[in-house]
């Protein structure tokens, strides 16, 4: 049994603050949104129609609760928008970042590698609003002119491309670090066996960093799922309609929350704000699931480093 010295005790207290804060947030969301959970039931997740209802008229009793007339809360459209845009962003970003990481670790002279990898890292710190503006002024007219059959550039594709750009450096830098840590012996013995450069990378190095790559992807997915501003600016704000093609307008959960909290506050029964709290709870559960998956998938993520020691 460890002795609890004052130092250890104080550090323990500080470290417990973080999980305590997390639990407090979740507990608050759960308690606050409970009436909305009772009101909507499971339909909250499967219904595609969201309607705040009529705030001006007197609230009506629906399913035993006082809500604005016509109120209906269904977030399937927003769940679909969030998952689809993040998934397509990953599909675009993975080949880009794998290519970039391999280029930086294999094809670039070590002397200029830091400068180039810093450029990649720089993309990661660009504020999301800047990506959103680029999306509005450059990407959307491009998609509208050359790709979209309707001439409308806003939608799933625009949101996915903007997200892909934002998460590419996350995956690329994670992967680059791992590639640089692959022991020299492994590379050189593969070369000694007569492998081509491509074979060395694809057969000797990539298998060693697979776990890190998966970890990086899930990290990026977490960022994409929660992104608010850039998505709101280019997604086309799909409402009450599921996307039917990559040019359909979508809404992500995070951008829906930030854009409609203001309207919800006009609800005299307060049920709208509780419903939005429930939306936040769902977003939290989705990101939690993604992170849990990350932990499982990348449990061997650091075996490269360990073997080196």
């Amino acid at each position: 049994m460890m002795k609890l010295r004052p130092f250890r005790l104080s550090v323990l207290g500080l470290s417990l603050l973080i999980p305590a804060a997390l639990c407090a947030v979740v507990l608050f969301l759960l308690i606050y949104s409970f009436p909305a959970i009772r009101f909507s039931g499971f339909g909250f997740l499967t219904d595609i129609n969201w309607n705040f209802g009529d705030f001006d008229d007197d609230p009506v009793m629906t399913r035993g609760m006082l809500v604005p007339g016509g109120a209906n809360y269904g977030i399937l459209v927003f769940i679909a928008g969030t998952l689809l845009s993040s998934f397509i962003a990953i599909v675009i970003a993975v080949p880009l970042s794998v290519g970039a990481a391999i280029f930086l670790s294999e094809a670039v002279p070590p002397k200029i590698r830091p400068a180039l990898s810093m450029l990649v890292e720089l993309v990661a710190v660009v504020p999301s609003i800047v990506f959103g503006l680029w999306g509005i002024w450059v990407l959307i007219p491009f998609i509208g002119h050359y790709l979209s059959p309707t001439g409308n550039g806003y939608g799933l594709l625009a949101a996915s491309v903007v997200l892909a750009l934002m998460i590419t450096p996350i995956i690329a830098t994670t992967l680059l670090d791992a590639l640089l840590q692959v022991p020299k012996e492994n590379r050189e013995s593969a070369f000694a066996l007569g492998a081509t450069h491509f074979e060395v990378v694809s057969k000797a190095m990539m298998p060693m960093v697979r776990a890190t790559l998966i970890g990086g992807i899930v990290l990026a997915l977490g960022r994409a799922l929660g992104e608010t501003m850039a998505v709101a600016m280019v997604s086309g704000g799909g409402f009450n309609i599921l996307p039917t093609s990559i040019f359909s307008p979508i809404s992500s959960i995070a951008s829906f929350i930030v854009n409609n909290l203001d309207s919800a506050e006009g609800d005299p029964t307060n049920m709208s704000v509780r419903a939005i709290a429930e939306v936040a709870l769902i977003l939290f559960l989705i990101t939690l699931a993604v992170n849990a998956a990350a932990k499982i998938l990348s449990s061997g993520a650091f075996h490269v480093r360990k073997r080196q020691q």
Binding site: D56, I140, F239, E265
Partner: protein, 353 residues
């Protein structure tokens, strides 16, 4: 480094002078209670103009302005978190019933334009029923017979209409949906009005964020139609978008010019009730533009401290008198309150105690 005695002495003298100035300043200024204004993003630029000039006259006045959206402005004013809530819409009946001390005080007059991006068409007539048809997906083509009937002699393209709406909660959506409710019985009974509408699913429609996003979306998408506050008139013109003439209550097509907005305001001037909660949608009168609204300050008449009440009264009085001068309002394309409404507003401001 050590300060020389001479430097110290001049420093003391400077402090004394500063103290004297500050003292006379306090004596002259009527208010020195910190006030917080929050709410409508449409009113925010105007509040900043007012506060800047008000503080130049009253150096001790301390007013913070923030842009959070009309809904937040109303909610926070009711909870007493802020002193002045700014809103594009007046308080609803249900809120007034629940919080009878809350006042809706008009500060200025605004209007909303219907803008379009239609290559080859330089003037366009639209009406409430046509727009309700477009935004519910019943009218999908620009050469629809209903639009053609409103535009004799205009060759309309056979192209799908792209309706643009706000994806964020907005006073603009409130006013626009109020206009559509007044135009179309179906809309009035199903979608009604509010800062967020449960937009009918139309393939090809666009949700855009903020007035700036509406402008960008309409500019980037030929064959689109959008509703944008008149404060954006200069930028709308610069982007090459057209402004539609709307069918007014008397069967005329009118543009949102200053004169036509003023005509609408004038016709409601004498029918505005003492609590000033009235819609100016489809105001009667010659050339009265149909989508006009008061911009409101949402204030609790029952203040905790009389000093705070006095500070609010002083600032709102300034906003609705001197602050209604063209030098302020022209910068945001708002119009001043007509004299009778100004009197009602003054009476409401006097209630803040």
């Amino acid at each position: 480094m050590k300060y020389s005695p001479k430097f110290c002495r001049s420093g003391v003298a400077a402090l004394a002078i500063a103290g004297l100035v500050a003292f006379t300043g306090t004596a002259k200024a009527q208010v020195d209670v910190p006030l917080v204004e929050s709410g409508s993003s449409l009113l925010y630029p105007l509040f900043n103009l007012w506060v800047q000039s008000y503080q130049a006259d009253n150096p001790n006045a301390d007013i913070t302005t923030t842009s959070t959206g009309s809904g937040a402005g109303i909610a926070q004013a009711i909870k007493g978190l802020i002193n002045i809530g700014a809103s594009d819409a007046y308080l609803s009946d249900s809120i007034v019933k629940e919080h009878p001390t809350m006042l809706s005080i008009p500060l200025a007059i605004s209007a909303q334009a219907i803008n379009y991006n239609l290559p080859g068409v330089s003037s366009l007539n639209l009406s409430g029923p046509i727009l309700a048809g477009i935004y519910t997906g019943k009218i999908t083509q620009w050469n629809d017979p209903a639009i053609a009937a409103a535009n004799p002699g205009v060759s309309l393209p056979a192209h799908v209409i792209i309706p643009v709406h706000r994806l964020d909660g907005s006073g603009d959506t409130f006013i626009f949906s109020q206009y559509l409710s007044a135009s179309d019985a179906d809309w009035a009974s199903t979608l009604k009005y509010g800062t967020t509408i449960s937009w009918p699913a139309i393939s090809g429609e666009i949700g855009a964020k903020g007035n700036a996003g509406m402008l960008a979306a309409a500019a980037a998408n030929p064959y689109s139609v959008a509703y944008i506050g008149v404060s954006y008139a200069d930028k709308v013109a610069a982007a090459g978008l057209g402004t539609a003439a709307l069918l007014d209550a008397d069967g005329q097509y009118v543009l949102p010019t200053q004169a036509n907005i003023a005509a609408a305001a004038a016709s409601v001037e004498n029918s505005t009730p003492p609590d000033e909660r009235i819609s100016m949608i489809f105001a009667h009168g010659a050339n009265a533009y149909p989508i006009v609204n008061y911009e409101y300050a949402i204030v609790d008449s029952n203040q905790q401290a009389s000093a705070v009440a006095e500070a609010i009264r002083a600032f709102l009085t300034y906003s609705t008198t001197e602050g209604n001068n063209a030098s302020f309002l022209n910068q945001v394309h708002f119009l001043p309150l007509p004299p009778a409404v100004q009197a009602l507003t003054a009476a409401q401001i006097a209630k803040i105690q």
